[in-house]
C-alpha cells in the first residue's frame, strides 16, 4: 500500500518535471522570434525605455508603412530588394531542380562505376564556404561584367543548390518501386514515357519539397550575395538587412519589421514541406 502510493507520487512528480522541461524548451525556441514580431509593432520609445516596458501599451504599423514607402521617408528600398530576392530565388530554384532531377534519377536508377565517389564529389563542392567561393567568383564576375546582376547570382545559386537537390531527389526516386516503371515499359511505354507518367507523379511531392528547400537556401543566402551584389539592381533582402546597421544608430524597429517580412515566406513554405523533407533526407541516406 505504502509502496504503491509512493510510486504513484514519484510518477506524478516525474510527469510535472517532464511538462516543465518541455515548456521551457519550447519557450526557448519560440521566444526570440515572438520578441522580434512584438518589437516591430511597438513604438521606438517603448523599445528604448528604461526600465523596460514588457507589455506593449500601443500597437502601431508605422515601421511597415515607413519600410514600404521608399527611400524618401528614411526607409530602405525594400520593394526592390524583395523583387530581386524573388526573381533570383525562383529562377535558380527551377534550374537547380531540373538539373537535380536528372542527377537524382541517375543515382537512384542506374549502377555505374565510381557511383559513391561521384556522389561524395558532388557533396564536397557544397562544402566550400560561401565566403571562400566568393573570392574567385568576385574576380571572375568583374572580368565578365556580370557582377551586381541577377544572372550572376542565379548562376552561383544553381551551383549551390544542385548537390543538395540531387541528394533529396535521389531519395524520393528510391521510394518509388522500380517494378512500376518496368511494368509500364513492358506495357509499351518508352523509358522516357515511363518516367513522366509513372515515376514523376509518384515522386512529385518529394520533388516539390526539394524545390522549396532550394528556394529557401537562395532566399536566406548571405555570404555570396553580400560580395557579388552592390546596388539596388541586384541586392537581396538578407544583404538589405545590413542597410540598417550602416548608419551610426541602429533602427531596431525597422530591422525587426524587415525581419518579419523575410521570415513570413520562409515560415509558410517550410510548414508545407516539413513532412516530405525529413522523409527524403532519411530514406535517401539510410537505405543506401
Amino acid at each position: 500500500m505504502d509502496e504503491n502510493s509512493s510510486a504513484r507520487l514519484k510518477r506524478r512528480l516525474l510527469g510535472i518535471v517532464y511538462r516543465i522541461g518541455l515548456f521551457l524548451a519550447m519557450l526557448t525556441i519560440c521566444l526570440p522570434g515572438l520578441w522580434i514580431v512584438l518589437s516591430s509593432l511597438r513604438p521606438t520609445v517603448e523599445i528604448m525605455a528604461k526600465p523596460p516596458v514588457w507589455i506593449p501599451q500601443q500597437i502601431s504599423f508605422d515601421a511597415y508603412v515607413a519600410m514600404f514607402s521608399g527611400i524618401g521617408k528614411g526607409g530602405i528600398p525594400v520593394i526592390e530588394y524583395f523583387r530581386n530576392s524573388l526573381i533570383i530565388s525562383v529562377t535558380s530554384t527551377v534550374i537547380a531542380v531540373a538539373i537535380g532531377m536528372a542527377g537524382g534519377y541517375a543515382f537512384a536508377r542506374y549502377r555505374f562505376r565510381g557511383k559513391s565517389g561521384v556522389f561524395l564529389g558532388l557533396m564536397l563542392t557544397r562544402t566550400v564556404p560561401g565566403i571562400a567561393l566568393s573570392l574567385p567568383l568576385f574576380f571572375l564576375y568583374v572580368r565578365l561584367g556580370i557582377i551586381d546582376t541577377h544572372f550572376g547570382l542565379i548562376l552561383a545559386y544553381v551551383a549551390l543548390n544542385v548537390p543538395f537537390t540531387i541528394w533529396l531527389i535521389d531519395g524520393f526516386f528510391r521510394q518509388v518501386p522500380k517494378d512500376l516503371a518496368e511494368a509500364a515499359q513492358i506495357d509499351g511505354c518508352t523509358r522516357w514515357q515511363a518516367f513522366w507518367q509513372v515515376e514523376f507523379p509518384l515522386a512529385g511531392p518529394g520533388i516539390a519539397s526539394a524545390a522549396i528547400f532550394a528556394f529557401l537556401t537562395c532566399w536566406n543566402e548571405f555570404a555570396l550575395a553580400s560580395q557579388l551584389t552592390r546596388s539596388v539592381s541586384a541586392k537581396t533582402l538578407p544583404v538589405g538587412l545590413l542597410d540598417y546597421t550602416a548608419e551610426f544608430t541602429i533602427d531596431w524597429r525597422g530591422m525587426c519589421a524587415l525581419a518579419v517580412v523575410m521570415i513570413i515566406p520562409a515560415l509558410t513554405l517550410t510548414y508545407i514541406v516539413q513532412k516530405h523533407l525529413v522523409g527524403g533526407l532519411t530514406s535517401g541516406a539510410v537505405k543506401g
Binding site: 523596460p52 560561401g130 565566403i131 568576385f138 574576380f139 571572375l140 544542385v162 548571405f222 538587412l241 525581419a259
Partner: protein, 298 residues
C-alpha cells in the same frame, strides 16, 4: 569518335557536372593559382607575379590567423556537440508527448526557418547591453544590477555567438533524431525491459545504436554548411571587439575586401575549405559505417 556512346547516367549527370565545374571547380583552381601571387585588387598587374609559397608561409607565421583558426575549431566543436545533445534531448521530449505532437514538431522546426543572418540580428538585438531582452530580464529579476556587456566583452561575445549558433541548428538534429525514434520498431525496447534492463541500458544499447545513423545524417548535413557561422558573426560583432570573435571566414572576408589583399585571402580561404572538407568527409565516413551496421540488421 565512331562507336562512342555515352552511358545514360553520364548524360543525366552531365548538366550537374558542367554547372559545378564552371561555378565551383574552375573558380577554385583560379583562386588556388592566385594564392601563389601577391595579387591586390588595386594593382591588377600583381596577378601575374609568382611568389611560390610566400603567402602560405606568412599566414603560418601570423598569430591572428592561428587565433581565428583555433577559435573556429573551438566554436564548431562546442556547437556541434551541444547541438547533438540538445537535439537528442528535444527529440526524446517530443517523442514522449502523448498529445499535440504535431504542433510540437512544427514548433521545433521554427529555428530552421530563420536564415543565419536573421538569427544573428535577432540575437544581436536580444544580447544588446542597453535594450536587449536578456539584460532587461536579468535586471528586472534582480539577478544583476549592472548591464552585462554581452557583445562588447570578448569572452561573453563568443558565448553569445555560440548561443545563436546552437539555437539555430539544434532543430536539424532534433528533427532527424525524432524521425529515427518514430521509425524505430517497439519490440526491441519491450524485450529489453522484460529482460530487466534499466532505462539507461535500454537507451544506450537499444535506442542509441538505432538512432545513430540519423544523428550522423544530421551531422553530415550540418557539416555541409558550417561556414554559415560567418553570417551570424558578421552581423553580431563583425569579428569585434578588437578581433576577439574573429573566425576564419570573417578574417578571409576582411583580408580580401577591406584590405584588398586577394592573394593572401585566397591562401587563407584554402585553409577554410580544407577544414570544411575534413569535417564532411569525417562524418560521411561515420555515416557509411553506421549505415552498414544498421543495414546488416534490417
Amino acid at each position: 569518335m565512331k562507336g562512342f556512346k555515352p552511358s545514360a547516367p553520364f548524360l543525366l549527370l552531365l548538366p550537374a557536372i558542367v554547372v559545378l565545374a564552371a561555378v565551383v571547380v574552375v573558380p577554385l583552381l583560379l583562386s588556388l593559382y592566385s594564392s601563389f601571387t601577391p595579387f591586390r585588387l588595386t594593382k591588377p598587374e600583381t596577378f601575374f607575379v609568382f611568389v611560390g609559397f610566400r603567402n602560405y608561409l606568412s599566414i603560418l607565421a601570423n598569430a591572428d590567423f592561428w587565433w581565428a583558426f583555433g577559435r573556429t575549431v573551438l566554436l564548431l566543436t562546442i556547437a556541434l556537440n551541444l547541438e547533438m545533445l540538445l537535439g537528442l534531448g528535444l527529440a526524446m521530449l517530443v517523442e514522449k508527448a502523448t498529445r499535440g505532437q504535431r504542433i510540437l514538431r512544427t514548433l521545433m522546426m521554427f529555428p530552421m526557418m530563420f536564415s543565419p543572418i536573421l538569427v544573428g540580428f535577432q540575437f544581436k538585438f536580444m544580447f544588446n547591453d542597453n535594450i536587449g531582452l536578456v539584460n532587461n530580464a536579468l535586471q528586472s529579476l534582480g539577478i544583476t544590477r549592472d548591464a552585462i556587456p554581452w557583445l562588447i566583452e570578448g569572452h561573453l561575445a563568443f558565448i553569445a555567438i555560440s548561443v545563436a549558433e546552437i539555437w539555430s541548428s539544434t532543430a536539424i538534429f532534433a528533427i532527424l533524431i525524432l524521425a529515427g525514434l518514430l521509425a524505430m520498431p517497439k519490440e526491441p525496447i519491450e524485450a529489453a525491459r522484460v529482460d530487466g534492463c534499466t532505462p539507461w541500458q535500454t537507451f544506450r544499447y537499444v535506442t542509441w545504436p538505432f538512432v545513430m545513423p540519423f544523428a550522423y545524417i544530421a551531422m553530415t548535413i550540418r557539416s555541409l554548411d558550417v561556414a554559415r557561422a560567418y553570417d551570424i558573426v558578421k552581423i553580431m560583432t563583425d569579428g569585434g571587439p578588437a578581433g576577439r570573435t574573429e573566425l576564419l571566414w570573417t578574417l578571409v572576408a576582411r583580408t580580401a575586401y577591406s584590405d584588398g589583399r586577394m592573394g593572401m585571402a585566397n591562401a587563407m580561404a584554402y585553409f577554410s575549405i580544407l577544414l570544411s572538407i575534413a569535417f564532411t568527409v569525417y562524418f560521411f565516413n561515420k555515416l557509411a559505417a553506421a549505415r552498414t551496421q544498421i543495414g546488416a540488421e534490417w
